[in-house]
């Protein structure tokens, strides 16, 4: 590659530091490794195209927003997809399940959520975005985000810890 435009080095640094995370998020959103790579790459293309504008703001937030909306736009196309309330049973009781099995179960269960529920969960709990940010980035009301998040976690049978439990680490 030739001499790069002003700010390109910053972009390369940004992309290098975040492409793996974006791909992983894309995989969570799509459930398909090839689509994940394509979506992450497409998101970075758009980030680069807007780099002059976003580089001094929050390029990471911009990237995750672009990614989420790219994937969501695909869902808006007439592709049949059926969200279901039927989440597969956990393969093994928690106490004896190995980590890989449990992670695999959770990722599989994630794919049973509706697209909007899944997107909210990924933005909220993978990217650690606040509910306010998720609402803004997905152009949803805060109440809708809270509702989607709550419903999704219920489907995943993920209990939200109370502050005391979270601090003490005590399991129910």
């Amino acid at each position: 590659m030739g001499l790069v435009r002003r700010g390109d080095e910053e972009f390369v640094e940004f992309a290098g530091a975040n492409s793996a995370r974006l791909q992983r998020a894309a995989y969570l959103l799509t459930g398909d490794r090839h689509q994940a790579e394509e979506a992450a790459q497409a998101a970075l293309v758009r980030v680069y195209a807007s780099w002059g504008r976003v580089r001094r703001k929050d390029p990471y937030a911009y990237a995750r927003t672009v990614l989420a909306n790219l994937v969501t736009d695909q869902w808006r196309r007439p592709i049949r997809e059926y969200a279901t309330d039927e989440v597969p049973e956990r393969a093994l009781p928690r106490d004896v399940a190995d980590d890989v099995t449990r992670r695999r179960w959770l990722i599989g269960a994630l794919q049973t959520l509706s697209p909007r529920e899944r997107t909210v969960v990924v933005l909220r709990h993978f990217f650690d975005a606040t509910e306010v940010d998720v609402a803004r980035e997905l152009n949803l009301s805060l109440g809708t985000v809270k509702s989607l998040n709550s419903r999704a976690l219920a489907k995943l049978r993920v209990s939200i810890p109370s502050p005391r439990r979270a601090q003490s680490g005590v399991r129910p």
Partner: protein, 270 residues
């Protein structure tokens, strides 16, 4: 660890998926094209004549039949002819000794150029693409969001019927388009119409412009813009500055060999 921690842990580990290194050169090339499309759209916002047909960074305007060699210079219409208006005026060619290029004086340059059309004289780079002369010209931009930018530089061709075919459009998006130094540098690339040279424009009394290309210092060919003698259009021979080659360190020197201000001396890629 609680359920939510488990979920977060699972999402961050994804046992069945390992991210791969992405080709950032491809990303940046595609991003550059997207950026230029947006700029072109900005430039075309008030001009439906030519740039409304811009797609994908390269022009998709269907070219007319190739012009017979040797007839191109004599048969070209004036630079100021709006695309599609036809009127094949005959234009003389004038040699510029320092570069050997031909500049076609326009017989119909509008005093107030139409957005999207050629602004001032069209410059013949001396090369061809798809059987048509490879040209450079300036076009007027009229974008309220870019109050200090009225100049866009275009690499394109012209059909036998006299239509200008823009292939690559570039312009400043920050600062003034007339600030001293380099502007709108564009890498050599291959688009639908064939290869376009690395090009750009310089504001100032640049007698010599060079870049470092694949380890060699390469001098640009250049032409003074007809509408403002302080603006220099320049480009590089495709054999010396190749698409996807290593290009950098643009320098401008005055007639006494003194280095001039650099300005926005970075090439757009892709």
């Amino acid at each position: 660890m609680n359920d939510l921690d488990d979920l977060r842990d699972a999402m961050h580990s994804t046992p069945d998926f390992e991210p791969k290194p992405l080709d950032l050169a491809v990303v940046m090339a595609a991003g550059g094209r997207l950026r230029r499309r947006r700029r072109a759209a900005v430039g075309a916002a008030s001009s439906a004549a030519v740039l409304a047909l811009l797609v994908g960074g390269a022009q998709l305007i269907p070219a007319g039949p190739p012009q017979p060699a040797g007839l191109a210079a004599a048969a070209q219409p004036s630079a100021g002819d709006a695309p599609g208006t036809g009127s094949p005026a005959t234009a003389a060619s004038a040699a510029v000794p320092s570069t050997g290029l031909n500049i076609r004086p326009s017989t119909g340059v509008p005093a107030r150029p139409e957005p999207g059309g050629a602004w001032g004289e069209v410059v013949d780079t001396g090369s061809t693409a798809g059987g048509l002369d490879r040209l450079l010209w300036m076009q007027r931009l009229d974008e309220p969001r870019l109050p200090d930018v009225a100049l866009g530089i275009v690499a394109g061709r012209r059909t036998a019927e006299g239509r200008l075919i823009p292939d690559v459009v570039n312009n400043e998006v920050e600062g003034s388009d007339r600030a001293p130094g380099f502007h709108a540098l564009e890498m050599a690339m291959v688009v639908e119409g064939g290869a376009t040279p690395a090009f750009g424009y310089y504001v100032g009394a640049a007698a010599k412009i060079t870049v470092k290309a694949d380890g060699r210092t390469v001098r640009a060919r250049q032409a003074t813009w007809s509408e403002d003698r302080s603006v220099v259009l320049f480009w590089f021979d495709l054999k010396m500055v190749k698409p996807a080659g290593e290009v950098g360190r643009p320098r401008a020197y005055d007639r006494n060999g003194r280095e001039l201000p650099a300005g926005n001396a970075a090439f757009a890629v892709g």
